[in-house]
Amino acid sequence: MWHRLIDLWTHNRYLLIAFVVAICLSVFFSARAISQFVYWADPARQDQTLAGWMTPRYVGKSYDIPPEIIQEAFDLQQDGNPRRISLDKLSEEKGISLNDMQSQLDVTVARWRAEQGMLNE
């Protein structure tokens, strides 16, 4: 074992270094996958923070709320055709920041969830 390693270090140094780097990378990626799995498995992290790439319908899916609540939170037209639009564009059109959209959404969703809770009791 050792004589072989020394032999490789003398004659195929770069190949041996590449091999060790690949081993380290696979350990690193597996550790990262496990930590990400543990992090996201926590139900408290299920509501994703709003990001510019999301669409209103996608937000509805992520927060598990019906379309009316999304329309209310983002002040969208109730009768118009639902559009595929990124929140970036929407915030530009409406002139409100993503942070304000987040607070509006949080308030509306909290109220809706409270109502649902009462209905279920």
Binding site: F29, S30, A33, G52, R84
Partner: protein
């Protein structure tokens, strides 16, 4: 970069997905896996049609694979002649040709999805070694069905948190690629070391 590509996905949808899977199969550094996950998520939310997403991702990938193959096959001979000028390079070319004869089909298949970052290079090597095109095309299509099905499907299923699933899958994919490279290098190291030992014993 991630947020930019996702915003583009919301604004341009299916045509963007087609272009990105196409370019990624030619080894251009575009985040195709992330975009497939997001498009699957948008399909689940009702913003895109699932069928259109699947067809576009598959079409882009298959066209990209085959273009890569034919570029290498068409312009490869110039490179092959250069490879043949030195014995060590010629030996490398012969070895890869022998490898493709033996393992070509499964290499093409698994490099499409299990170790997708290696895919474009396998396409180029296939063309370069004049690996049979019908075999390449069939194994490639089978692999892309799995790739597209896996990523679009996971995006669709885990639509409520695309950020989480994409972070997790990129780690898993990184792990698999590093592992495959490590195993390959390991075999190579053992092989050269044993060869040297035999040579010494013979002397």
């Amino acid at each position: 970069m991630t947020d930019l590509i996702l915003t583009l996905a919301a604004d341009y949808g299916v045509p963007l997905l087609f272009s990105v899977t196409f370019l990624s199969c030619l080894a251009l550094p575009v985040p195709s896996s992330l975009l497939m996950l997001a498009s699957g998520g948008f399909a689940a939310a009702g913003d895109l049609s699932l069928a259109a997403v699947a067809v576009a991702a598959f079409g882009g990938a298959v066209i990209g694979d085959n273009l890569g193959y034919w570029i290498a096959r068409r312009f490869g001979p110039h490179l092959t002649r250069w490879l043949a000028t030195r014995p060590r390079r010629a030996a490398m070319r012969d070895r890869s040709q022998a490898f493709m004869q033996k393992w070509g089909g499964s290499s093409v298949f698994f490099s499409c999805w299990l170790v997708a970052p290696l895919g474009p290079y396998v396409n180029y090597v296939s063309g370069l070694t004049s690996f049979s095109w019908p075999r390449f095309a069939l194994w490639g299509m089978a692999g892309e069905v799995v790739w597209v099905g896996l990523y679009v499907g996971l995006g669709f299923l885990f639509a409520d948190n695309i950020t989480a699933i994409s972070a997790l899958l990129s780690s898993i994919s990184g792990f698999l690629v590093a592992l495959v490279v490590a195993v390959g290098l390991g075999f190579w190291l053992v092989h050269v070391s044993k060869a040297r030992e035999r040579k010494r014993a013979a002397q």
